[in-house]
Amino acid sequence: MSQAETVAPIKNSRKFTMTDFQQLLLQARAYIALVVVISVFSFLSEAFLTPANIIIVASQVAINAILGIGMTFVILTAGIDLSVGSVAGLIAMIAGGLINEGLVLPMFGIIVYFQVWAVILISLACGALVGAVNGIIITRFNVTPFIATLGMLYVARGLALLRSDGNTYPNLVGKPEFGNEGFPLLGSGTFLPSDVVNGWMQSMSGSMPKILVDSLTFLALPYSVWIMIGFTIVAAIVLTKTPFGRQVYAIGGNERAAKLSGIRVDRVKVIVYMISGLCAGMVGLLIASKLVAAHPATGVFFELNAIAVVVLGGTSLMGGRGNIGGTIIGAFIIGALSAGMVMVGVSSFWQQVIKGSVIVLAVIVDQIQAQMQKRVALQQQQRLELATQE
């Protein structure tokens, strides 16, 4: 104890140095990048920073963000999940089929139609199940995550196509006689009906400043954004405040040490892939609900977007380093960048070049920060040794 106390003042008396400042900048880089992107586009386009546009961007961001949350868990264990796009497609098809065709049980000669909430739960469970299969293949049979989930990318896509023979399930509105109406609400519904909010806005325009009135639009946030917020909060709490989350970080940082600390590494990994599958399922549901149709090609290439937002958020592909907040910021950077470039009129070819460059640039900055952290750790140790020698 005494040593700890004699050392403590050294740290406190330290001045705020240039390195500290650089470090702060580097640590806050994702936020800075987001602010820069938003400022540039709101300067270039007046419509960019309007509440209506923010809501549109946010509901697009929700897709990448939710996939990214699942992917963050996986990448924190130093794994990867390439199957999320296909799983989203498969789950969309499962949900679409359940609504339009019901669950056919030929041995009993009956067709079961579920209510919408049950459809959603079943679909999410299926997503988690696919994730569990990924996790079991990875842990039981020692297949690298890249290969296991690459296989699942094809398998899930194939199953999605098989579900309806390659056709789309159109018009997922349900039928009153089956009691399964209301699925489209998930993707496009809002807590407060938008006409109610619009009514308030009209009655207040004139008496209140415009900015305040406009911001009322946020009361009509779509469910997809609420779901993103909900997933973010739960994921952040799980990662930072539960033993499971701590174990996820430990496995990514040093799997052997984690195992020797009594962590059931295989079980944690399976759960992590289940979380990713569940998030993918949620995305599949949101897209099917928004389009009021389930298409088997839903979610093609989404896995790459998901990885991009995670990496952009500062999570290391080597595992053990990163957080949910970063992923969300990453998703907003990509979202704001895409929306902004469209509004400003950047050609779609250039959009890809720019997006790609931003992702690689982010990782380069990450590496710089890691180098710097190492140097700071070394300095810290030397200071500590000096202090204890006295």
């Binding site: 040093n254 600390s261 952290q373 700071v376 750790a377 070394l378 140790q381």
Partner: protein, 528 residues
């Protein structure tokens, strides 16, 4: 000892032989430890330059710097008096420096010739490999070493001793002046060692300087011309071998009066805490890693396990810690038979394991000091479903105090601590699981003297509190000074058991050599 003509003929054989390579004031800092502190090292032409030191004294680091694997933080290298920069293994080769590692770096699937010329093939018109010249040259090199090896043989089919010769030939193919050998005999049988020594003498006569690292004192005395002793990253002494004897080496290596390191302990043991019978772990490809081992441990007892590398000590501990579910054997804890066979379950039963390799097995390098400490006992800090910051912090603080851990802020990253403090974090992690038994595999490896004695203090204190401690050490003084009872292992078997009073260095060493077929006196040992 007379020196025969030096190959280059540059320097006439003189009373004081020529220094071919000189390392000057080398300092190497790693995150977590200062591996080398202002070390000078001379390599004499045509001589065997022996380097000794305890584990963690910095031998390997110095060799890696000379061989270009690592770069020194400070200091310089002088080759034939001229300063040189060695930035890579390739650089080292260009300067005529070759290294043979303890683990052979050969391609078992390729032929002797292909191995010798790997990455510097002889080429026809710069493109195609010139097989014929390679074979001819390989045959010459092997002839120079006077060994019956066919250059066409597949390396994987050769005996270990011959594989080592291939390594040497590989180094010679680069026209080396200096050959570093790191524990070259650790895998060799006695007759193979003789062959290796012949080869070394051959190389000496050809003017090659040998740097020879080993723990085996009799070998050093037999083959060495000059000896350099490192201790705790510092140079202790350099002497011609003819001027010194074994006790001098040991004194320089260990240095301090070993007794002062160890706290005096009251030896009062409680009831039997652990009983192991018939613990067996098969080796892949036949034989045993742990060969029907039985042992007991009492409350408050410190049991030391001594043995050479590969004697099965670490494997025995892994069996006890639940890391080897394939092991068979019976275990009783406090009289209760133990069925559980996973790490998690063993931890829950009160078995904490401090692994040998801190970096690889003990720490999560991406996490903070506090998070590392708490990792094995997270369930204890829950309130509801969530981890309680308060419970975490109070436990971290308690352990920092108890182990006098030197840390400015528990949230600082683990790699910013020195080796000794990192080891304390691993111990703290184990202690936070409220263990009854502490299994420690080489608990003082690679840490400085001060931290060592602190670790011993901690062990003694824990034993006094009623814990049972089993620890492995390769250092005789440690085992003799710290353990209440000593088991010696060799080839997976327990080959000796000594009480504190009975144990002597000689007795431990000869028990550790049983079954190795090395010239050794069979000792009587009783298992009491």
């Amino acid at each position: 000892m007379t020196v025969t003509a030096v190959k280059t003929g540059a320097a006439p054989p003189a009373a004081s032989p020529e220094v071919v390579l000189r390392a000057e004031k080398i300092t190497k800092v790693f995150p977590g430890t200062v591996a080398l502190d202002n070390v000078n090292f001379n390599v004499y032409r045509g001589k065997v330059n022996v380097m000794v030191g305890e584990n963690g004294a910095g031998k390997s680091t110095l060799m890696k710097i000379i061989a270009g694997v690592e770069q020194a933080t400070e200091g310089k290298l002088l080759l034939n008096g001229k300063p040189i920069k060695i930035k890579s293994v390739l650089d080292a080769g260009r300067h005529g420096i070759g290294i043979i590692y303890q683990e052979l770096n050969l391609f078992p699937n390729l032929s002797v010739t292909e191995n010798i010329f790997m990455a510097h093939e002889i080429k026809k018109s710069g493109v195609l490999i010139d097989e014929a010249s390679q074979k001819e040259r390989a045959a010459q090199l092997i002839a120079r070493l006077r060994q019956p090896i066919d250059p066409n043989d597949i390396v994987g089919d050769l005996r270990i001793g011959h594989q080592q010769i291939v390594e040497i030939a590989k180094a010679l193919a680069l026209d080396i002046e200096i050959l570093i050998m790191d524990e070259p005999t650790s895998a060799l049988s006695a007759s193979e060692v003789e062959v290796l020594f012949e080869v070394i003498n051959e190389l000496k006569s050809q003017g090659v300087a040998i740097v020879y690292i080993s723990h085996k004192m009799d070998e050093l005395m037999q083959i060495g011309d000059y000896i350099t002793v490192l201790r705790d990253g510092k140079l202790r002494a350099e002497r011609p071998m003819s001027e010194i004897d074994l006790s001098w080496i040991i004194e320089e290596m260990v240095g301090r009066n070993p007794a002062s390191l160890f706290a005096d302990r009251q030896q009062t043991f409680g009831d039997e805490l652990l009983r192991v019978e018939d613990m067996t772990l098969h080796r892949v490809g036949g034989g045993y890693m742990v060969d029907h081992v039985a042992l007991t441990l009492h409350h408050g007892e410190i049991l030391g396990i001594y043995g050479l590398m590969g004697a099965g000590r670490s494997e025995l501990m892994e069996c006890l810690a639940g890391l080897r579910p394939e092991a068979s054997g019976k275990v009783w804890l406090d009289g209760e038979p133990v069925k559980a066979n996973s790490v998690k379950e063993r931890i829950d039963l009160g078995v904490a394991y401090i692994p040998e390799d801190r970096q690889r097995d003990g720490l999560v390098q991406t996490m903070s000091v506090a998070d590392n400490m708490l990792l094995a006992s997270l369930q204890r800090y829950l309130s509801g479903f969530l981890l309680s910051k308060k419970k975490e912090a109070s436990n971290v603080e308690r352990l920092i105090g108890e182990l006098s851990l030197k840390v400015a802020d528990p949230q600082q990253i683990i790699t910013s601590l020195s080796g000794g403090n990192q080891q304390k974090v691993v111990i703290a992690k184990g202690l936070l699981t409220n263990p009854k038994i502490l299994l420690m595999d080489e608990p003082t490896r690679g840490i400085d003297v001060g931290a060592k004695s602190e670790i011993f203090d901690i062990m003694g204190r824990l034993a006094a509190e009623g814990l049972g401690v089993i620890f492995i050490s390769s250092e005789l003084k440690e085992v003799l000074g710290m353990a209440d009872r000593i088991l010696v292992m060799s080839k997976g078997k327990i080959t000796g058991e000594f009480s504190r009073a009975e144990a002597t260095e000689e007795a431990l060493v000869s028990a550790s050599a049983i079954g190795h077929g090395v010239k050794t006196l069979e000792v009587e040992h009783e298992s009491s």
